[in-house]
Amino acid sequence: MLRNYLTIALRHLRRHPGYAAINVVGLAVGMACCLLILLFVRDELSYDRFHDNAERVYRIVSDWGDFSVPATSWPVVSRLEDDFPQIEAHARLLQTDGLVRYGDESFVEEHLFAANPAVFDVFSFPLRQGDPATALSRPFTTVITPEIAEKYFGDADPMGQTLRVDNQYDLEVTGVLEPIPAASHVHPDFFLSWSTLDAALDYSEAMADNWGANGIYTYLLLPENADPTTLEAQFPDFVDRHAGSDWNGATLLLQPLTDIHLHSHHNSEIEPNGNIAYVYVFSIIAAFVLLIAGINFVNLSTARSAERAKEVGVRKSMGAQRGQLVRQFLAESVVLAVLALVLAVALVALALPAFRALSGKALDVGVLTDGFTLAAFAATTLVVGVLAGAFPAFVLSRFQPVRVLRGRLRQGRGGGWLRKGLVTFQFAVSVVLIVGTAVVYTQLDYLRSARLGFDQERVVMVPMQGGDDVHLPRYDAFRQALAQQPGVEAVSASSEGLPSELLNGTGIAFADAGVPDDSLQGLRLVAVSHDFFDALGAEMVAGRGFSRELPTDSGAFVVNEAALDLLAQDLPQPLRAPADALGKQLRGWSEWPPRGPLIGVADNFNMATLHESVEPILFMLQPDWFSHYVVRVQPGDLDATLGALRSTWAQFYPDWPFDYRFVDQAFDAQYRAEERLGQIFGIFAGLAILIACLGLFGLAAFTAQQRTKEIGVRKVLGASVTQIVALLSKEFVALVGLAFVIAAPVAYLAMDRWLSDFAYRTDLSAFLFLGAGGIALAIAVLTVSYHALRAALADPVQSLRYE
């Protein structure tokens, strides 16, 4: 019996190749989308689960409400194990960068992490060489990844070799890691022993009371089944006991290790994390694309049910039970789904390289053959086959043989409405996706072209290398030499490379102006050198920037307007204007920074990406904080100017490599996530509308065929080709119109919500929606008109004779 089902299924498909192609291609594309997204989602969900203790590890987060970092300070970390004996172990990571040299080769390395030996107990970072128990126990030792070993030592044995860091310290290689899986929230290239910090910087002593430097990523290993909230609840007491009024005000929280990748969005994350919202959105969209393909199957098979009716009647009169017919039709749709699967697997294999680039994930063809994927394939096929086949099977098997065999079968009104509803749904989804794509790209364009409040073109940031002792003695001479170079307009320096997360901040208030002692405003602190505002091309609203001619400026402050708005709240009304605030003294929390006059108010400009609104900022001259030279270059021969920068650098920093980036490009690079979203939306939208149109094409063919006689009669009575095309297209156009009416509000709400994540956002113009609707309509009309035109041009005599 099954063979009979399969035989008839295959012969049926062969006899109706167009119908088969629409269904198989549509389902295959839908399934391929789903499979790719499934691989993506699986990878996203797998982050940090390779650690044996993954379920027991929690990271400390310091939360100030509007600002939070997934790290804490040394005084907290150093007291944890004494105060909380239930903590089995803690791993601490402190990220730094440095110039690493071996022999003649040197590279700036950004993924150096000081770590305590317990890092190998808390995490599962197995060592290929070396002993995890001792590798990080001595000062000046390091454990490196195989890539780093290869990079510096080639084929030679790295164990016991010495790497020189920042031209100052020698580190002995005491271990080589196994490669760290891609699905990890952190990828250290070097672990250097925590005791190195004490030996080199007297770290424990220097930081003993520094509750404000929250840079240590701290991971706690809790006992089996321990409730992290119990520990969390004890933190306020802990803080009270040790810090008292010195406490920095943060609430300490615990974050599960396995939540970091998808749920952690703090400042100062070690690596850019994923976003669970995107995982949901992509999954839903992929499911919708598959649903659209499934709808094609339902629509085409119910539309063509008249053709199958005779068979149903015959089989029933031969004694077929309804259940047998249902099974037969289900077998047919499963056969179709299996064919689609074959094509889908081929599509996935073909699309994998592009998908890899798009998703940034290391998915190779091997993933197609692992157990999970195969199970997913089988499940998808079965689910698609059964779900898509269930309704047609139900409808077809319901036919009364006596009616169909007498040719009395009429298209049920109900089926027609269902079909229209499903087509409307398909186009509604397509319109939402088109609007989504358009909005994402419009926003991206807005982000890239928006004025940041300064002239972001032709500003070059050159990172300073080494510590204060390297760049402080050279700073002035280098700056002057650089300013002499042709093509260089201005040279300054800053503590921030742009765009910046602006992680430094403190409480600031006007001193002696009637402001209560406890009324401090949280401002971000940015160290700048003279000419900073000129170099960026930022405007002053009142007063002036820092002047080299006035030595007293070294203790003065400039704020931006956002900061002045905050500070002025505490001033009496008549003194709140920018000009009135100039000359007043500012004071800081714990008398740091030391009191000084406000000499200028800068226009608000964005130092962070446009996801954030302009933060209130206090600018001060603080050379030991500098991290970047800020160079404004002239238009013209950029290559020559960069060459001059490089050679001047080599003159002053012979031991340090030259690095630079353009500020506008650096800002652009921060919008990669949006760009990726736009691309994925675009691809999905394209596929959705393609599949929907395939279905429409099939339905149009069917309608035209069904109405052949009507068209013949109308033509005989004098209808023009245009009128016939209009007649046949009208219905579909109405459906797409209805789809637009349904889709527009949904798209509006969804995209408005997405845009609310940005401090600066484009408007959702009606034009954008109408454009999307217009595109969907145009594609639908083109699709339908092929068959409409064919029907309209056909010889009416033929069609009437045929009937």
């Binding site: 009979n4 006899r15 068979e311 015959v314 009169s317 004694g319 077929a320 039970q321 009364q400």
Partner: protein, 235 residues
């Protein structure tokens, strides 16, 4: 074998109620060959469909093989129909996607006949209608007469007690029509009860009895002096 009492069938559409059969009392004995005649729309096919358990009466009784079937649901009727009734249609109603062999095999599949026995019986049925040489052909590759022979083979392959034929020669020329009528007569002579709807007086002459329907009523019943002499065993 078949007995109906006051059989009634009405169709309702949105506005109109049509009476297709009205108080039909008919008895068909085992081994009988009857023809049902009458003008278009008189209810012939409706009667045949009810007799074939494809349709249900609105009112009245219908006993098939001593079972009251008027109140049966689709499932029960399908069960009773299976193996007991074979159908031959005016438009053949072969399944286009199946070969001659597969079409004839179909009723046996639904009867769960084992594969070996199926092969034997399909072959016997195809031999009987002399279409064995076309067993791998698809219906659309055959002439009308050949298609109807396949349909007859399909109707008899399960050895049903009753064959219902709805204008079996309606789509055939006279030569092919005669072939089919001879086939049916042979089957009847071998013991199968046959009820046939026809417009053709010539075809009707092959039967023992002609039932004339008019506007849903049986108006006359004529017993025939059969052309090919054979008397039914009256039970």
């Amino acid at each position: 074998m078949i007995k109906t009492a006051n059989l009634k069938k009405t169709y309702r559409t949105d506005e109109v109620e049509t009476t297709a059969l009205n108080n039909v009392n008919l008895e068909i004995k085992s081994g009988e060959f009857i023809s049902i005649m009458g003008p278009s729309g008189c209810g012939k096919s409706t009667l045949l469909n009810i007799l074939g358990l494809l349709d249900t009466p609105t009112d009245g009784q219908y006993t098939f093989l001593d079972e009251e079937v008027a109140g049966m649901n689709e499932r029960q009727r399908a069960k009773l129909r299976k193996g007991n009734i074979g159908f031959v249609f005016q438009s053949f109603n072969l399944i286009d996607e199946l070969t001659v062999w597969e079409n004839v095999e179909l009723p046996l599949l639904y009867l769960d006949v084992p594969s070996k026995e199926r092969d034997e019986r399909v072959e016997a049925a195809l031999d009987r209608v002399q279409i064995m040489h076309r067993k791998t052909h698809f219906p659309q590759q055959l002439s009308g007469g050949q298609q109807q022979r396949v349909a007859v083979a399909r109707a008899v392959v399960a050895n049903p007690r009753l064959i219902l034929a709805d204008e079996p020669t309606g789509n055939l020329d006279s030569t092919h029509g005669e072939e089919i009528m001879k086939l049916l007569t042979e089957l009847n002579e071998a013991g199968t009860t046959i009820a046939m709807v026809t417009h053709s007086p010539a075809d009707a002459e092959y039967s023992h009895r002609i039932v004339h329907l008019f506007d849903g009523h049986i108006v006359t019943e004529n017993f025939m002096a059969r052309k090919y002499a054979h008397t039914p065993e009256v039970q």
